[in-house]
Symmetry: C3
Subunit: 216 residues, 3 copies
């Protein structure tokens, strides 16, 4: 198996995993078969479409290579029919989702760097590639995006993107280094899930009574 | 009347119809005059803007040709003032909306094919052109997109896009063939409305009591 | 201080102000630190990213110049820690927000005109640059966009964009003219806030009983 075949297989695995997560959310919202497939498509390919628009790679891969759309659609349709069984596989899905997060972070950051985006912008784009699909999924199903609310998710992606940018800056963005970055995101996500790590939430202090300032 | 004039008139008719649908939804949400015009603009032109960004036709037609924005804005403003009368015309609006769906599907798919997008991607883009405005309308007004929930809507657009791609592949994408494809989408949408056809919805089976598996 | 330095400083001030508004909204929704920074980033840079995608300036400034992302992130993080104090500064924030609105309207419209977008489209883009971030903020936090609901906000931006396009058409888009346009938007916004001006809202008349027409 060549490197590019390995990358394609890994990419399509990520697409399938995110399609399953989107389709599950759509089933829970009582969308019909088409709606389930559509939300699965957005969850699997939305982040990559956004990345490709920003770096002006047109048409985006999701429209240029039919295998991406086909993988997303078939996985989402399968989820529609199989979802009661998938519910039992919740742990498996979380693990695969973490793997997809690591993968999309690495490929997204790399593509942005290759397109000439400076390092800070490339890190942001890598993170957006990884979390963009989940954002689209939650917007379509009427939720405040869960990636903004819970646990170490986007933060893991951002840390991985910074790692890729550093590897690239030091000329070490080879297969071993990139794999390590993807595994790092994967592991950080899983450990934070297991330990229920979370970014801090601001305390909303009640207004103090009797001590109001004089202003408007 | 030349062909291009006919196409432009048909296109602007689609813009007007979708602007009216967006404006009606915004009036129902108690948005002010500007909000009504803005949602009408997004509903009428959002799908085309998305399509033009993906195929890198910049600036998108909605910004490059003032007649598009003017048609959308005037129709939305008219809807703001006339909406109680429009409510009586609900059947008319549904028929016009189906016509717009057929038209935008055909023009969207054709433009994508002309821009060199492969067939599968072009079908997806044609569908997105037709349903994108309605998606934007529902996101702005805080609804789960209705095109994902009810009846044969996006499915009709997708079927029409596939028809256009097939016509194109066999060199039959002439005026007669394309008109037939648009009429096909139009008719499929109307028939499904009349007969209350709908894509299937997944059954959410309650968890079986007393028969849980051992795993997590 | 050169003109371009002045413009950059003014631009970054606008970014900071909008980042603070986005972060405040996210804190109120109980998002975690990352979510607050992310919503701040979208509020500060979303409008400009949309504009740059439409005029095909890629990668967008938000990704190409690290100072934009850094300003947005640092301001949002500061808001996360300082928000109880910011609440007291509500009037100040409203004033700064109006200043940001004026600035982004002018720079957005100018950039679109420079990129060859016709006048009507450039006005729409200038307005979208100014209100786009607020739209993204409200979509992410599950609100019907407030710029569509209240007061003269987008309308002030649109009026300023038309002023810039007129100045440009008559060859008067110099520093004095552009500053006047920005101040005009700023003042219009503040006066409408003070006087509670608002665009009209449609009356939803109840259906008349006993006087139904014969139609469907």
């Amino acid at each position: 198996m060549t490197t590019s075949t390995a990358l394609l297989l890994a990419d399509l695995t990520g697409v399938a995993v995110f399609a399953a997560s989107g389709a599950s959310a759509a089933v829970a919202k009582r969308l019909d078969l088409f709606g389930v497939v559509f939300v699965g498509f957005v969850a699997a390919l939305g982040g990559g479409i956004l990345r490709d628009l920003v770096i002006d790679e047109v048409p985006p891969l999701a429209f240029a290579d039919w295998r991406y759309a086909a993988t997303a659609a078939l996985t989402a349709a399968a989820t529609f029919w199989l979802h009661p069984r998938l519910a039992r596989l919740r742990t498996t899905v979380l693990v695969l989702d973490a793997a997809g997060l690591g993968l999309f972070t690495v490929t997204g950051t790399l593509k942005a760097l290759d397109a000439g985006v400076p390092a800070v912008g490339a890190c942001l784009l890598g993170m957006l590639t990884a979390i963009g699909g989940g954002l689209g999924r939650d917007l379509l199903t009427g939720e405040i995006p869960v990636v903004l609310r819970r646990e170490i998710y986007a933060v893991a992606a951002l840390a991985g993107a910074v790692a890729v940018a550093l590897l690239d800056a030091f000329g070490r963005a080879d297969a071993a280094g990139l794999t390590a970055a993807a595994v790092f995101v994967f592991a950080l996500r899983l450990v934070s899930l297991r330990r229920r790590w979370s970014a801090p939430v601001a305390t909303l202090r009640p207004p103090r009574t009797g001590a109001r300032g004089p202003g408007s």
